[in-house]
Amino acid sequence: MALALEGSQALARTIALCRPQVVAAYPITPQTHIVEGIAKLVADGALDCEMVSVESEHSAASVALGAAVAGSRAYTASASQGILLMAEVLFDIAGLRIPLVMTCANRALSGPLNIWNDQQDSMAVRDAGWIQLYCATNQEAIDTTVQAFRIAERCELPVMVCVDGFTLTHTLEPLDLPSAEQVDGFLPAYRFRHGLDPADPRSLGTLVAPEHFSEVRHAHHQALMRAQTEIEQADSDWAAVVGRHCGGLLEVRGDPQARLGILTLGSVLGTLEDAMDNDPSLPRARFIKLRSYRPFPARALREACAGLDTLIVLERALSPGAGGIVGPEVQTAVIGMEAPPRVHNFAAGLGGRDLSLDLYQRLVDAVLNEARPEGFAIIDADPSLLPEADR
């Protein structure tokens, strides 16, 4: 039965169902409600877990790292500046191939200060070597979180579940929580194979010289690439349990016959779908919901793009001075196709800018009659507010 739950509360309860043994977190908007929820469950005795309320995100990631190598299922959550403060530890966790799960309640980065939703934070650590899964809905966030633990533990890689801050975390809606039995059946008790144990005292985090470092990185890359299978498998196995799936690596929605495609990450998808469905006069689009950004599913993406003339990559972040972040990667992926679509790249909804229903039309209008792809634009920016030189 669906429960009326705020996204954060639902995530807190989901995480509790995954039985993490150590949770470490530092408060930051909009992640706060998640860890507050977990803290309350621990305080109420509903979750047997060491809740470590650390003094910084750097330590949050570090505590999670320590807990994982000491053999516990570990979890943390953060957002925005917190992700950046964690950054060096995030790279380290992944490079050491330590399985743990974190939620990123996606939020813009300073400066200037902005506390609202975009995805610049998780994009900033896309190269950390983590698996990154983006959630379009709170239900997906719940289901992806459960799957994330299995993926992390089977692949021996950390997984970051990216959930749009506020837009998802602070929205109350009817949500299905899995039962404890369902989660326990899906997530058996786990102990990291390469952890620290006095009975088998290995050394982690060694100094690797140039003659071996490329191989270490190669192995890490391969592990991430292999993880695609596990991501798909986890989703289908979980679907067999709860009857819902999240789309595996990516999901094609909308009009499968459309020649226009729109690729999105995260929660904007529903608004675009509604906008298209509400107005039959608008051109139809095929939506590609990119769920697994890391590993980047190039092959699945090419299959999803088959038959498209035009593909809009809509992002919630950018690489200033270059343009989009995901766009160029998509462009690179589709080049291998026989008839690749023209790829247009936009950012929108930065820093919590409301993504209204008319976004769909703006996107379509911007590309439909354009022979040449749009290099990159922040489509909902109003340059008239800027001095001449900055327009």
């Binding site: 009326a4 939703n117 998802l168 809606e173 929660s267 409301d354």
Partner: protein, 189 residues
Amino acid sequence: MLEIRIHGRGGQGNVVAAYLLAAAAIDGGRYAQAFPAFGAERRGAPVAAFVRIDEQPIRRRCQVREPSFLIVQDPALMDVAGTLAGLRSHGTILVDGAETVIDDSGDNEIITMPATRLAMEHIGRPVPNTALLAAFITLTELMPLSALVDALAERFKGPVLEKNRKLVEAAAATIEAGRWREVAHGVGA
């Protein structure tokens, strides 16, 4: 899809009101969505929250720009820019005030009710949200009042819940049941 915007001040339980209303709708078997207009405001500042209610799953996550209903927790906010923005032509406004007054002089009917006073009487705190929600549900008959009580039961227990239940009943009694039923069902369907 029924879209409602709730205005209040930071600390008045504005978001809670939105969550309660959506939760009551979900309890009543509908789909619903509630979220705040996220801000950095602190206690006392004007804030808004949004509620959508539908028979279908709700996909959009944009803010409510053209609500059918406004619930305003402080009459002074009626004069604040933006409070009335986008209200649909037949939309109505429920606002806290000194006593129950129905103003149908304009395009949009405004019903004032003594939500804060009732809250003071029953729970001893000047928080108008529960009384306003009870009145709103009574006016629109979107769901039985018991759904609101059920939603309150998720947050309160024991004597506090009981006082809230009495507040709900008292607030409902001040208002004409079903007065906005057509607006609600006409737009919502």
